[in-house]
Assembly symmetry: C2
Homo-oligomer: 193 residues x 2
Amino acid sequence: MEVFEFIQGMARTDENLIQSAEELDKAIDHIVQLIQDSCSLYLSGSYPSSAFLSITACEEVAKAHIGSFTYGQHPDKKGRNMFRDHKTKHQMAALPTVPMGQRLEEAIGKVELQRIMKTAQNGGFVQVRENAIYFQRKNDKLVIPSEKIDKELARALALFAIEVFDDALVGLTNHSYEMDDITDKLFEQIKNT
Amino acid sequence: MEVFEFIQGMARTDENLIQSAEELDKAIDHIVQLIQDSCSLYLSGSYPSSAFLSITACEEVAKAHIGSFTYGQHPDKKGRNMFRDHKTKHQMAALPTVPMGQRLEEAIGKVELQRIMKTAQNGGFVQVRENAIYFQRKNDKLVIPSEKIDKELARALALFAIEVFDDALVGLTNHSYEMDDITDKLFEQIKNT
């Protein structure tokens, strides 16, 4: 797997981004807050802002997951930190384990799940992320976020972010199980919309 | 004023970012949605995500305001669009007219208002924006957004974003007055917290 090779190639130092279980728990609290914010905006009908926060949650999961054994220095490009690169974070979030569970596939369907995985892996989340908060001129027309991100996409991204969190971080600390109760409830709530 | 000189120096073409009153109204709807999202997250106690969306609203106001007479090409640096540069957008949002009104100064105090204006003008919003959604390692400690953005800062930024919108865009179209009713109510609601 390309993304695994990439992660394997990262510089390992004692200066990891996350250096203790307590720090991981802090990062988890922050990620669950992002997921809660995403879900509450989704439920109030603000789909683009919700989608933006779902993608941000995925980025932060990737940092917390991989950051336990690296500070993020790029293996080839000196001075560049991968945790500041959106596309790399999206790829590290969409690990092959994510679509293996049943829950997400049942909630959004196999085709949509594969589409979301591909979008994250090929860099497409970068564009979705920008479409979600910025208006822009495209083909001689002004396009605003609500025209680019609909309910279906925001729903899929919120559920995807929860699954990404669950897959990468839940189980690593006792606290992560407690936070999982919150995100499991949100998953059910969003699924039934 | 430096920011005025900068705006004066922008390339003027027929290819403006915003090309009609209808397009400006669409941008206004999008900006008011960002403000509403920011306020609802603030009111639910999620201060960092609120602060991020307040700053995003300021950026979009600057684009809608200045984008009516330029596409954003940088006067000096070819190929660079100023509407993609966070610092420039923050400077164009924090115009000298913003602190002139009474409402914002009464709500957050003169000292805090001057501090926010300076932060926007000297590029400090860029850091606040990142602090609001990303955890990071600082001085050998993991720092998460809730440790960087408190209620007071989120409140000031939400009120600031509303005033920036009000100052730059309200009055330009009939629709802008209708949307102003929404943001005026939010201003009062946030002010009384």
